[in-house]
């Protein structure tokens, strides 16, 4: 697969992405590119298709048509081994989805060890480094049940980072949290952004978007209605639907 854009900085190239559930069109032709080091924030009303779009990027949702090129490889091609590429795309879910029957440390080391990226010893060491990074080294041997929502999400971020991903996908990472726990997760995400990680974030946290977002995308009715720098996006929105949306959420 050749990349017609010939831009070495393009990490994910989305071309005319469409997704239908039966007769219901969720994504109706999405075109965009995610470049290395970018923090792309996606907002939109509920049911707009923003989560489906994010979940399409690592094929948790299989697109009906269109192409997604990740690091130059067409991952929507059925002959591509998606498992190899998913290792380079970390994902953080709204509901955390930690493995409840495993300790925090085991949650983090499972994939690197199973996929033979590291030995158990190396993975354990890496897990402790990551837990320190998210501020939870003392929880290594705890089970997810014993953690607060914010702590669970921080562990989930550490778990995704353990595979050494090139991009992190966040699907409304703070929406299931009690308000007082949102901050601790956003802080970790900001640090991650500052460290140069490429991030695609679906969120309702406009403060986060303004502060660390490098580009904003507004999705509604399955298409990108507006795409701009955070400053322009918030101060000078052009699309009428975006104006309406912003007036409701800001």
């Amino acid at each position: 697969m050749t990349n017609s854009y010939n831009d070495a900085n393009v990490l994910i190239d989305v071309r005319d992405l469409k997704k239908q559930f039966g007769d219901h069109v969720v994504l109706n032709g999405i075109n965009t590119q995610i470049r290395k080091g970018e923090v792309v924030v996606i907002i939109g009303p509920s049911g707009s298709g923003k989560s489906t779009f994010l979940r399409s990027l690592n094929l948790l949702e299989i697109p009906t048509s269109g192409e997604i090129l990740f690091e130059g490889v067409n991952i929507t091609d059925p002959n591509t081994d998606i498992n190899v590429h998913r290792q380079k795309m970390g994902m953080v879910f709204q509901q955390f989805n930690l493995f409840p029957n495993m300790t925090v440390k085991k949650n983090i080391t499972l994939a690197p060890v199973k996929l033979k990226k590291m030995t158990q010893d190396e993975a354990d060491k890496r897990a402790m480094e990551l837990l320190t990074r998210v501020g939870l080294p003392e929880k290594a041997d705890a089970y997810p049940q014993m953690l607060s929502g914010g702590q669970k999400q921080r562990v989930a971020i550490a778990r995704a980072l353990a595979m050494g991903p090139d991009v992190m996908l966040f699907d409304e990472p703070t929406s299931a949290l009690d308000p007082e726990m949102v901050g601790e997760v956003l802080t970790i995400m900001k640090e991650l952004a500052l460290s140069g990680m490429t991030m695609v974030v679906v969120t309702h946290e406009m403060g986060f978007a303004k502060e660390v977002g490098s580009r904003m995308i507004f999705i509604d009715e399955g298409v990108i209605m507006e795409e701009n720098s955070p400053k322009e996006f918030f101060e000078n929105p052009k699309n009428q639907r975006l104006k309406d949306f912003l007036s409701k959420v800001l």
């Binding site: 039966g22 948790l60 498992n83 029957n101 994939a111 049940q145 014993m146």
Partner: protein
């Protein structure tokens, strides 16, 4: 009183009759445990096929999976729709028709019959366990790059297993008691032992009461073991 003691003597001591019980327990346990293992293997495989088929997105049905799903459904229908005793009779007198009537062959055919039979029930138990695990667990595993099978094995099945343990214990108990029908093919299990003693001593009360108590004791031991396993698996449920 003297008569009762004499009865006990006749049933247990006379002619080393107690050996019928000892050997009977051994055969009953052997058939039960081997059948359970076979049933678990069949059950887990069938359950994974059935659950994987049911959990597919309706837009992307895998035809190969669909084919195996139909095979599994036929298996479940036939096995659950016919009496276990009939299955056992067919296994021994039809499938094993040319086998010599040795204990080893009888046990083999009994294990096959009961294993295939309980596999059908275990399959549905395991399937309910798999379906009870949130879909986010599979997504989390897949998002890390683990394959479907690997996620099933390391993430889904262990959680499902914990949830279905009480139902599996039930199946274990049912199986233990149901093996008593091997008497119809002449395998000398616990029940057959009591029947032989009845034939030799013309006594019914003591031998049958004795095996009833032995079955009860075995079941209580199984319940105890399942309780210990359940408690072990529950460590991760601890709250703060």
């Amino acid at each position: 009183m003297d008569k009762f003691i004499n009865d006990l003597y006749q049933v247990f001591v006379y002619d080393n009759n107690y050996l019928y019980f000892v050997r009977g327990i051994r055969v009953t346990l052997l058939v039960t445990v081997l059948s359970l293992i076979l049933g678990l293997v069949i059950g887990v495989v069938v359950a994974i096929i059935r659950a994987s088929h049911d959990l597919q997105s309706p837009n992307h049905m895998n035809p190969v999976l669909g084919f195996f799903n139909i095979i599994c459904k036929i298996y479940l229908t036939v096995i659950r729709g016919t009496p276990t005793m009939v299955q056992l009779l067919i296994m021994w007198f039809v499938v094993f028709a040319s086998a010599r009537s040795t204990d080893a062959n009888l046990i083999r055919s009994a294990v096959l019959a009961f294993g295939i039979n309980s596999g059908a029930y275990i399959a549905e138990i395991v399937r309910s366990g798999i379906m009870s695990i949130e879909k986010g667990q599979m997504e989390a595993g897949r998002s890390l790059g683990l394959t479907y099978v690997s996620t099933m094995k390391s993430v889904i099945i262990p959680q499902a297993f914990k949830n279905i343990l009480p139902a599996l214990g039930n199946e274990f108990i049912t199986l233990l008691k149901e093996t008593s029908i091997v008497t119809v093919i002449g395998l000398k299990d616990l029940t057959k032992g009591a029947m032989i003693i009845q034939g030799n001593t013309y006594q019914a009360l003591v031998p049958f009461l004795a095996i009833a108590l032995i079955y009860l004791a075995l079941v209580m031991i199984i319940v105890k073991i399942m309780g210990v396993i359940e408690r072990r698996l529950r460590v991760s449920d601890k709250q703060l």
